[in-house]
Amino acid sequence: MIPSAFDYRRASSVEEALSLLQSTEDAKFVAGGHSLLPLMKMRFASPGMLIDIRSIQELQSIRRDGNRVVIGALCTHRHIANDETIVQALPALAEAAGRVGDLQVRNRGTIGGNLAHADPASDLPALALLYGATIHAEGPDGPEDYPVEEFFLGPMTTALRPTQLLRSVSFPVPDRGSEVYEKFAHPASGYAVVGVAAWVATDAGGIIQDIRVALNGVGYCAYRATSVEQALFGREATEELLEKASHLATEEVEVLEDVFASENYRRHVAAVFTRRAIRRALDKATR
């Protein structure tokens, strides 16, 4: 499969990237290309120009800034999965990044591309929701920040404007509790049939003081399973309660259906993986 014809430029700075973007009507940014190129090969996307931002140095770093970790848009999944700061401060993000696609995909794919593309089945949007990340964009009118709750609007649709570049994502570091990511991956593509990110903080008596659960692969975009959170908040997670609460994981969404997983099957897997994720987060918390 061959994409339709397009022009190609490389940008070496954010300013250059933005001015190239303004110079053409239907230009797109490309870095790893692992979300965009497959769409272009199938001709679902046919941009007139690709602006390659991969060599922009300032977008390649991961740094700790007080109680946040700021990750440049061009950091690859492999980089994120193995970065010591992230492994320590945001362990579920490291876990999820290490399970994106496969080795080759993790070598090329970037966090910025992943979030901007907003594939319902990709892993990192759920992690951004779990941690309450902020997406930092840059446009002709200057910088703009998007809280993650306002970022994902639908399948392959975000609040990012066509004139903006996603430059970094910052994640607040939780000061308590523990978090995990559980995933049932499609065996060929590595995309999530169901992915569940869970963060739980309990008191000494095992009462849940705070909980967040976010799913991907299930609905039209990643979402917080607030019904699950509410069912468990302030209570002790007995097996019985956890089982009951996990079945609320698909309460608020229209569940996707495809050749690999019917709606009912996906609903069932979502409940099972929600239970597993919360259980593992709890076990981690009490260790």
């Binding site: 061959i2 994409p3 014809a5 272009m40 090969k41 390659d52 696609g101 995909v105």
Partner: protein, 178 residues
């Protein structure tokens, strides 16, 4: 937009040789390797970045060449299966596949070996789990993967043995001088 107008000269470093070709931005790396440079060892399997048959190394990292534009590889160093070893002087991964019979039909083999080389650059002494995880992105419909995993472990041992022999030789050399 006329493709012809978008053609440009692109310099590619493949297996240590510099090639210059007139390419369109939309030309995929795998097509350029096979059709322009005649390096047909890199196979096209699914063409949807799932099967890994087209895996090559770009700056030492395993990459699916069906999901990379050739223009994106300009300025990078690309290694294909042809760049691994030669008859009589095989790369340790090729020796490993030979020794452990890591293939049957052979279609996936170039991609699997390139993914394995990328994996061995990351882990010097990989566990079986790390090998299996590193091979997630390549699909083999014949072997059931058992012999592939043995082949990669065999290669890891060969690389380690070669390195320690080199270190011993260097130590001996220093000893002779002193």
């Amino acid at each position: 937009m006329a493709g012809k107008a978008l053609k440009r000269m692109v310099k590619l470093d493949v297996n240590g040789t510099c090639y210059e070709r007139e390419l369109e931005p939309r030309d995929l790396l795998v097509h350029v390797l096979r059709d322009e440079l005649g390096l047909t060892g890199t196979h096209i399997g699914c063409d949807t970045s799932q099967c890994g048959a087209c895996t090559v190394l770009v700056d030492g990292e395993a990459v699916k060449s069906c999901t990379m534009l050739a223009v994106q590889a300009e300025g990078c160093s690309v290694t294909t299966v042809e760049g691994l070893g030669k008859m009589g002087a095989l790369h340790p991964i090729q020796e490993g596949f030979w020794e452990e019979h890591g293939l049957q039909c052979g279609f996936c083999t170039p991609g699997v070996m390139m993914a394995a080389v990328g994996l061995l650059a990351q882990y010097r002494e990989p566990t079986e789990e790390q090998i299996r995880e590193g091979l997630e992105g390549v699909m083999c419909r014949c072997t059931g993967y058992q012999n592939i995993v043995r082949a990669v472990a065999n290669a890891a041992e060969r690389i380690k043995a070669t390195e320690s022999a080199e270190i011993q030789a260097a130590v001996a050399h220093v000893g002779e001088r002193s």
